[in-house]
Amino acid sequence: MSLISNLKPGGKHGVPSNESRDPIGYLVAGLNRLAQTDLLDKVRLRKPTEQAVFSVTRTGFKTMTNASRTFAKAGQKGQPGTRPTAAASSGVFDLTPGEDEQMLVDVVTEFADEVVRPAAFEADKQCAAPEALLKSSLEIGLPILGVPESLGGVSEERSAMAGTLVAEALAKGDMGLAVATLAPGSVATAIGLWGTDAQQQTYLPAFTGDEVPAAALALSEPAVLFDVLSPSTTARKSGDGYVLNGTKSLVARGDHAELFVVGAQLDGKPVLFLVESSTEGLSIEGDPAMGVRAASLTKLVLDDVKVPADAVLGETDGSTYTECVRLSRLAWCALAVGTGQAVLDYVTPYVKEREAFGEPIANRQSVAFMVANIAIELQGMRLLTYRAAARAAAGKDFSREVALARKACTDKGMQIGLDGVQLLGGHGFVKEHPVERWYRDLRAIGIMEGTVLV
């Protein structure tokens, strides 16, 4: 291959495809390649540079090897599973969480304050959640929050509201770690909601036991203008089962996951499939993103992955899949609210302490009004999210409500992230303060599909 064709411009390094190189461009590009080779180091022409952190770089695809667990088949195939009942509604307008919900929020808030927030900086840097933190998240029961009591979980009824409050409280600590800790429970909740008796008996004991598997709800795909309702991952009937092909992106903790819920198009309808990580044809690549890095985001490639007929989770007419998308968006709204609150709580004392021109900057309307607008929009986001969650929990249609919540959380959430950095000025841009991380995390809302669910 000639040097020239290697240096063909466009399409790489963020360069649009209509760019072209002139002779000087080729010369510079050639020099750049030379500068990247080991040759310079071998002849000691370059000063030693620091080693980059290995784990945060893309590593290339690896075949899944950590399929440590076999899920022993149990239960009755084709029999409908146990379903959580809809939460009772008193018909009274009320913004007070139930007693159980409040207790849960208190516990999670303490966990978020004392464990999650202190670990957030390092976890963002390492693109991984600390093992101890993941362990203690199990102790407070996060994975079984949405699993009905009769299946070994804790929820007496549909838990979308409790899940929303928990996700918000966790994200106040850190969004990336919230996603890392909520991902397995999201898969468990999905199986609780839509699994057959056999699927519930096969998989849920693992989530309600001591060794909870990492698991991931993989709906996103690497496509511009991605439409989650029309995935390009395909499922094809073959013999008794299905064959899956495609690539999923932004899969949380995919390298450790033992169970995936994968979205794929079957006969023109989007459908969810349960895929165990030991299945042949799966490979995974680290896929670090702008934010939510503590969730160890990965790409998952499915290459002729064969799954049995009973791997289908829920309906094949697209209804389960759509419901799943909505509940997932709801969870991301809750995460945005929690992170937005973290921003507000952080900038409030800062602008009161930081002085300019002889007085606290908070005394200036241009600063104070930014804080006021964060507070106003944040509360709007919260109420929109709660309304959608309460409707979901009560078994009502919440498609419009969750769409409105998501729109507000996407736009206003990002504005809060921006303003959080702006209020700290240059200090907001450096990692000494967490606002730059919240800025990166809040960009995820409106992009992320799947991964978490309430």
């Binding site: 009274v92 009320d94 709007g380 736009d411």
Partner: protein, 406 residues
């Protein structure tokens, strides 16, 4: 209890009723009184009588301008969450403004003065002013938002206060029976000396000087009123006559905690009129919002509509929250201002954007979209401008005094 943000079951009949009235009574005369500014909408008398009847029968859940009064303790029902008159008022006011904001503001016996009386009057006064139509007079030619700058004076002379000054922007100032006038007992004592007085319109020395011609809410009369040695019984002072420098302005400002959610509700109702019609017109043009598909894969019009609807819903829920807090005797100054700030700006954005979306049909007087875009503007101004609401929210969130955050 559980979190639930739906309009309460027990208020639904009331809301449906208000909607029918708005659709069948207000909409048909909406354009008529927009054009015939200053003409009294006589149709409203019958409507007011009907509303009084509903209110006496208890069917209105205590909704209306006086619905902002905070009930005394319920004793044994103390711990139960209440959906009371404040919530009923904001939901029904929003419905009526879906019909016509100018006409809602012209409803006999439903003035902002009535809300002020309901908020701060003692029981005796409440009884005495029952059934009266009260407008509110705060603003003067020399100030608007800075209520502490009031220069209208009230001087005690025997058993009467003598009131002197000029008030502008008095909504329903010509049509009302009486006016709640804000005046100072002693300018040198600052905010604490500002009190409100109920002044009968036929009091000698009270004169309606002129009516304003306005951008919107033209069905509602906006008066300039002068007070020249107007004498009112000292029992007409609302609240305590004591000048409590410690408490400062708090007494008088308490009214706003109750009336701001109402004005927010007006913006919510007015904006929904625009959204509802625009949704319909867009549908005729082949554009329908799909709530599940990403907005960026739909038309720009659909994406814009989704944004408007999301903002609008946030304003609506903030308004319900503020009223719910008032019903449950929770301090709500912060939430009332949040609701007013959000609903006020959303009201403008929604109504103006809907005109743009509907192009010349939106801009033409053939439809009401252009009218709603004019009506909505005042809702981001009266009962505290957008900037005043932001100031209040900022001071509360940051814990700063008015001396620190000016």
């Amino acid at each position: 209890m559980a979190i639930n943000l739906e309009v309460p079951k027990k208020h639904r009949a009331l809301v449906d009723q208000a909607h029918q009235v708005a659709m069948n009574m207000l909409r048909p005369i909406s354009r008529k009184y927009d054009i015939a500014e200053h003409e009294y909408p006589k149709e409203l008398d019958m409507l007011a009588a009907m509303i009084d009847g509903l209110s006496e029968s208890g069917a209105s859940e205590g909704a209306g301008a006086t619905g902002v009064r905070r009930d005394a303790d319920d004793g044994d029902k103390k711990n139960a969450v209440k959906n009371g008159a404040n919530l009923a008022s904001v939901t029904s006011v929003a419905e009526m403004c879906w019909g016509d904001t100018g006409l809602l503001l012209s409803m006999p016996r439903q003035g902002l003065g009535n809300s002020a009386i309901a908020s701060v009057a003692n029981d005796e006064q409440l009884e005495r002013f029952k059934g009266r139509w009260a407008s509110m007079a705060i603003t003067e030619p020399s100030f608007g938002s800075d209520s502490a700058a009031i220069s209208t004076t009230a001087v005690l002379d025997g058993d009467e206060y003598v009131i002197n000054g000029e008030k502008i922007f008095v909504t329903s100032g010509e049509r009302s029976d009486c006016i709640v006038v804000w005046a100072t007992l002693d300018k040198s004592l600052g905010r604490a000396a500002i009190k409100s007085f109920v002044v009968e319109k036929d009091t000698p020395g009270v004169k309606v000087e002129r009516l304003e011609e306005k951008l919107g809410i033209r069905a509602s009369d906006t008066a300039v009123i002068t007070f020249t040695d107007a004498r009112v019984p000292k029992e007409n002072l609302l609240g305590s006559p004591e000048i409590n420098v410690e408490q400062g302005f708090a007494g008088a400002m308490a009214t706003f905690d109750n009336t701001r959610p109402l004005v927010a509700a007006m913006a919510v109702g007015c904006a929904r009129a625009s959204l509802d019609l625009t949704r319909d017109l867009l549908k005729e043009a082949g554009i329908e919002v799909d709530y599940d598909r990403p907005a960026l894969l739909q038309s720009a019009a659909a994406a814009k509509f989704l944004q408007l609807e999301a903002d609008w819903e946030a304003g609506r829920l903030l308004t319900l929250q503020a009223a719910w807090m008032a019903d449950n005797r929770k301090p709500n100054s912060l939430e009332a201002s949040m609701a007013k700030a959000k609903a006020g700006r959303v009201g403008s954005d929604v109504t103006l954007s809907c005109v743009e979306l509907c192009a010349s049909i939106g801009y033409s007087e053939e439809e009401l979209l252009e009218k709603w875009a004019r009506d909505s503007k005042i809702l981001d101004i009266f009962e505290g401008t957008q900037q005043i609401q932001q100031l209040i929210v900022a001071r509360r969130v940051l814990g700063l005094s008015s001396a620190e955050l000016k």
